[in-house]
């Protein structure tokens, strides 16, 4: 049983991903902000973390680096509304494995999730 953590303040996005990818062998857990995301990640050590950049409180990249501190092997997929390179660079340097640009459609999610949770 694999664990997927979605950290996003948009409940609709969390819901869609949950509906689309929740299967027998994938458990999906949610967090609505950065701090919560970090604490859940540290508790459950998820196999894959989907991390939004813009979050209330600490942003996604900060949360990522906090998670990476404790769980260096965890895989974090970032997604951001900012299209610039600088933001992407920051995301990678905080520990994101991949960064997707919003809006991300279902196919992209399928590709990424199947890639890391196969």
């Amino acid at each position: 049983m694999k664990t997927l953590l979605i950290v996003d303040d948009e409940s609709s996005i969390r819901w869609i991903i949950k509906v689309a990818f929740e299967q027998e062998n994938i458990r999906i857990v949610e967090a609505s902000n950065g701090e919560e995301g970090v604490s859940v990640a540290l508790q459950l050590s998820p196999d894959l973390i989907i991390m939004d950049y813009k979050l209330p409180g600490i942003n996604g990249w900060e949360a990522t680096s906090k998670i990476k501190e404790k769980l260096p092997n965890s895989i974090v997929i970032g997604h951001t509304g900012y299209a610039n390179e600088e933001n992407k660079k920051q995301g990678f340097s905080s520990g994101c494995t991949e960064i997707l640009h919003k809006p991300v459609d279902l196919e992209e999610w399928e590709n990424v999730i199947s890639k890391y949770l196969a």
Partner: protein
Amino acid sequence: MISFAFNLAMVLSGFILFLLLHFSLVIIKQFNKFSVFDESIEDNPTLAFKQKLSMFLISLLPIFILDVMIRLISSTNILPLNVYPFQGLLSLAYLFSIFTLINFIFFESALTKKIMYIFAIFAVPLGFFWIKTNVLDGFFPIINNYYLVFLLKAIWIVIGVFSLIIIYNKTKKITDHEIILAYFKSTLKFLLYFLLSNIIALGTTTMLMDYYFVFSSALSFGSLFFVFVMLTTDSNEEEYFDKPYKIIKQKIVSRMMISITILIVISLELVNYATIYIIQTELRNTKSHFFVSIINEINKEFDQTYDELYASFSSYFNKYNASDQLYYIGITLFNDMRNIKDLEKVVILSKESTPLLEVTKEEVNFNYTTPENIAIYKPYTDGASKDGYRFSFNQPYNLIEITKIIKDKNNNVAYYVIGFYKSIGLFSKINQHVFNPEGEILVLNNKYEKLYSTETSESLKSELHKGSFFEVYGKNELTRLNLLVRQPEKFAFSGIQKAQYNSFFFTIVAIIVFLIIAFAYMKTIEAPIKKLQKGAKAVGEGDLSYEIIIKEKNEFYELATAFNKMVSDLKKMQQDQLKQEQILSVSRMGVALNHEINNPVATITMGAQLSNKILKNIEKDANEKTKSQLVTLEKTNEQIINESKRISKILKDIQEITNPIIEDYVDGTKMVKVKFD
């Protein structure tokens, strides 16, 4: 004591000069450090304004230094008594070097070398003047301690030589001669104005008797003219826009020169006054100084040869031939011949004792009977002792005759006329402005007994007997007579006093004139400064539409222009900033849109995609009717997905437009530049 103080002051002034040079170099170094002369800051209006303001303030500095120097010089009573013409040349040379120095300070940025070079140029003639006046002409006329004089001169010369060597070594390295030549020429132009004005002024000042006063007054009046020239020679307007920075420097220099000139004029007047004061003091201390020169003048005339005298007489007696003239003159000598017993003849001898004319007793008697001769002849002394001199006054010809009475081998008495003296000349001597006409010239014999006197006034006699007078003795080598010049103290310096009053008057007039000029000048400064102040205040309170208007094309015009440029630049900057703020808020909106809309769009897209996926699963088991409905639903979902993607693309485009702004926005710093493709 004055001479000593003078010497000391001369040496000290040398040191002061070098100190000033040193300090000016230090100041110049500071200029370079703070880039006051950096022209590249022209595009920064605030800095340019500061630069111009500080330049204006700095330009006042040499005036203060000069002022201090003048005060110092005035207080030390510096006066080279016998070097008036050199004094003038020296002043010009100094003036020239000062002008050049100022020119260089304010026109060049790499200064040190050039200043040294130009200083060397002027150190050579100055050094020449110093040597000429100090060593050859004897700079110190009245001094007792010659060792001290030589020591001081030696110190001065050694300093001069050393500085020349140092300067020479430094100037060897300078290569940029063209600039130096240019500024040499520009300075020469100023000097030319100065000299021209002096020539004009010379004509107006001849009422002052002494040529030194004429010269120095000419300098004063010339300076006035110079001020006028400086005020009216404005550079043309085109240059204002081509090289505004250079022009403002020129403006400052010229304004500074005017101020310096005013100070020079005032100081010259002060020096004049001090000169007279010192002459008077010296005279009071040495008493005989001027009287000796008068005695020398008289003695010179007594030394005239017969030939010279006869030559001058022939203009009076041109109707006679040479021997007739001698005869005629001889006759007048012997009106009292009859009073002398045993007189055989009168011999008139030349200086070399060659007999020029012999008059026998018979001839004298014959000629003497002319009644008009008796009328015109008036003996000044009743008689003369044997072996003594006799002085008589020949009234129609204004001659004083000096006759020696001698005896020949046969014990015959003869009159040897040994000299004539033109009394007009004598009286004119005591009419000099340095000597009151009330004075008296006495001719004394070996025993200092009075033989002849020019004394005419009874009142003077009483004055003389009060004992309060100056008198000087001098011996005439030809006649071996003593000359005594005496003058009541009361009148002795009336000429000098007159000159002093004149000078005092001119000083007062000059000061008043320059006070008026200074006041007017101050007013011209005050008004624009107030305008600038008002402008600065208004701008400080945030009124960026304020504009300072100065019509006169001077450095304040430049300051105002710079100020206005600064303000308009500020205004432009503010407007730019406003514009940028607007762009920034648009970009912020873009960012917000991007984020806020992206999420729901993503949800919609994903939702549609998910529902299509689910629909496809249902489709497998559905009947035909349901299938066609599901296909319709799927198509509807496709439409939703396409439309959502379109929205995403639009958002992406907006983000690309605002991309550079977002970069900075993300960093948390304020945006500075905006780039649109």
